[in-house]
Symmetry: C2
Subunit: 203 residues, 2 copies
């Protein structure tokens, strides 16, 4: 039986700090590079996060070349443009709206899973958005687990980004995430959070 | 400078295991209760996770009473119904599509933020879905940080749940998450994951 004085979390305080309490959305980064192997380690951790029917719709474009950054930058809001061009690495997170094509491999226990989605693009788009966003959150947590900071942004012209990077129409842009080591004074102050009683209701 | 032999993650192996590598979606739980204080500790950790404009659209209904469980159960698929009625606690995660009403308080640095959404319900719904799903993922991570297991499910009649629990139309159901301690043999085997090279592309 638990008592009021027992710690409620098993995750130690240091991990709580790294992933949530001391982590901040960052707008300015040091020049230290973020290599592909680090992103691989992040992905190999967070790929275990759950999605419905094991859909895994998230796709990650790592924009390293100045050409790829420029292709993205023209579709960002002005304030997001500057910080993105200065970040060591920018990830363009997208979702595969045709994820059902993989379900026979990813969710073999229910062979009919793909049929639930095959005829209904709107249902697939909603499911890809929901489950891709779950995975985007796991990815942000993973960036922090690597000792790095993330600057996620949704302020961009989605249609423009989709035309530029995903002309086939199968994928849709979800979020742009700048990644690097935070520059002192590059962290935004923590915004106010809704209290437990504003968010949680017991019935 | 990093070298190939340096660990790429700062999060220790035990935390990696608790949050991702050993964690599983669980279908059967022991009878041990999950108290409100534990959920409060989870929320007070994961509320720090980032959302666009600090929107925080997630709302959490904790279904404890058999009456509230029954109200939900009729809208679940048959296989989800049984495991939900047996779980120690069920959280109905929803999003507030009228989140913009809180933005002057939550994102005071940009007084015009609410105006971006005020006239466009479709934009609000998409943003609430995206950001609410990010927060749902933080919540699942938080459940695991408390040493508990989560069983997230999207197999339910959304319209039915919305009519039953959110008749005003402001909120929309997102995900149902059963919570408790896993019963041996109640864990599903890990489904196959997409490889790094299938998901990540460098440009």
């Amino acid at each position: 039986m638990t008592t009021p004085t027992k710690p409620r979390l098993v995750l130690d305080a240091s991990a709580q700090d790294v992933l949530f309490r001391r982590a901040r959305t960052v707008e300015r980064f040091t020049g230290e590079p973020v290599d592909d192997e680090t992103i691989r380690a992040v992905y190999d951790l967070v790929r275990d996060g759950p999605t419905a029917f094991n859909q895994q719709p998230l796709r990650i474009l790592l924009l390293r070349s100045s050409e790829s950054r420029t292709r993205l930058a023209v579709h960002l809001s002005r304030s997001n443009r500057e910080k993105t061009l200065r970040a060591p690495l920018t990830a363009l997170l997208a979702v595969d709206n045709e994820f059902h094509r993989n379900l026979s491999r990813l969710f073999p226990g229910f062979p009919g899973a793909a049929d639930l989605y095959a005829e209904n693009r709107a249902l697939r788009e909603r499911s890809a958005l929901l489950n891709g966003a779950l995975q985007a959150a796991y990815f942000i947590i993973g960036i922090r687990a690597a000792g790095l900071a993330a600057g996620p942004m949704s302020g961009f012209d989605e249609d423009g980004v989709n035309r530029e990077f995903f002309p086939s129409g199968d994928l849709s842009a979800l979020l742009v995430v700048n990644i690097g080591r935070p520059e002192r004074s590059g962290e935004r102050p923590r915004g106010p959070r809704l209290s437990h009683s504003e968010v949680c209701t017991t019935l």
